[in-house]
Subunit: 232 residues, 2 copies
DNA sequence: GCGGATAAAATAATCGATTTTCAAGTAGAA
DNA sequence: TTCTACTTGAAAATCGATTATTTTATCCGC
């Protein structure tokens, strides 16, 4: 029985805990659940139709990851979001990705270069929205976007650095979703991606570093404005 | 209220899960449990005298942290160690700490400087070994050591970057313990720490970056040799 | 003897009842 | 009225039994 990702992607193999972890994680990142919201275990169990143990395990994992805040004997809550946190996150993201892309350009071979070009191509060919629903971003686009950014730094020479970058990417995704919900458009995102790809092909580390930082800071700036308005 | 790690770390407040997490974590970092060793839940429950749920929760947290490897339906095992992993880890550590110390020197104020000086002083005043047992490193020294390295990067401007650095520090601690067990001496470690402190006070970013990288690479080199011999 | 299928044992994952803990609300005293 | 001590209800944490899965052992047919 090959698991067909159509009917039951979370079919037979995975553990319930893993499954529920993925689902809850997605809900938090997509801001389906509000930041700061209390996570009552019982309600979650009901919602996902599992027992306490797997639910608890999922929450534990998410809490070491920083998406959920845990305090002993007082349960779990979705990690709060705020302007200060966004500043912290954006800095870490800029610095780490700049570092990683420089190292990648220095160490990456032709195969890496091709990987970046390919990832860019796929991203540019993926529509940002599903033909039906214009307000929800296409999951396919999100995956392609993720892959593109991942490819840029995949030759850095340290698996861990990449892991950290991906972790930061996911954390940012939460903020991007807040922006999207408020109607912020990433207007010339495509152009920025193209420029990044071209800098890689040209092996221009300084330019790539400049671009990636600008790319992140521009997005963060848009979200910051939304956060300011929400607070009022 | 500094933690009373002497009398009763497992006071009244913590949950069992948190407590057992701390204990197991320490055992893994100190290489009391061999890398790669299978972690049979039942045995662990017996060992720490808790039920399955808290044990499972502790293991879950450790697995997102990377100290324990989890595979669905096949249980948990201590994360393996190897030369390749050490290379990856050391690179990440050098790059991230260099970055963080540069940012700290650029942004840190006088208070930060004083903090570094103080942390160094305390470290230099802490004996590396407990007067009785010469082969086990003093926990107090380890804490002071950790604090010193933490202080160096505490003005970087991003909480997350610091968290990553501390995470890497802990991962390295495992390798250092392997070295220590094999009788490797960190001969002029003290001198290196002093030089780092002085570079900070002199606000010499290039020198500090050079020193921190050298510091990590030297330690890694010693451990690498031990790993080579163990493999044979 | 060897390889593949089947059965048995071991171990992980899950559930739901039970225990423990926290905190909001209430009553009594100053 | 205000403060403290007690009560009580809600929620989290834990346990041990049960279920599902993997791994090991065994048995036949070749």
């Amino acid at each position: 029985m090959p698991d067909s990702s159509l009917d039951q992607p979370e079919g037979a193999k995975e553990t319930l805990a893993s499954h529920v972890y993925d689902r809850l994680r997605q809900d938090i990142i997509s801001v389906v659940i509000e930041p700061g919201e209390k996570l009552h275990i019982r309600s979650l169990c009901e919602r996902f139709d599992v027992g306490l143990s797997p639910m608890r395990e999922a929450l534990s994992r998410l809490s070491t990851e920083g998406l959920v805040a845990q305090s002993d004997h007082r349960g779990f809550a979705v990690a709060p979001m705020g302007e200060q946190d966004l500043v912290d996150l954006t800095r870490a993201r800029c610095w780490l990705n700049e570092l990683a892309i420089r190292k990648s350009i220095a160490r990456g071979d032709a195969a890496w270069e091709e990987q970046v070009v390919l990832a860019f191509h796929r991203l540019s060919r993926t529509p940002r929205f599903e033909p039906g629903q214009e307000q929800e971003r296409s999951p396919k686009w999100e995956i392609a976007h993720r892959n593109f950014h991942s490819s840029l730094i995949s030759a850095s020479g340290s698996e861990r650095i990449q892991q950290y970058c991906e972790h930061l990417f996911d954390s940012s995704e939460r903020y991007r979703h807040v922006g999207r919900k408020a109607g912020v458009k990433g207007a010339n995102r495509d152009k920025e991606h193209r420029a990044l790809m071209e800098a890689v092909v040209a092996r221009d580390a300084d330019e790539a570093a400049r671009l990636i930082t600008a790319h992140f800071e521009r997005t963060a700036e848009l979200v910051r404005q939304v956060l300011r308005e929400l607070k009022r």
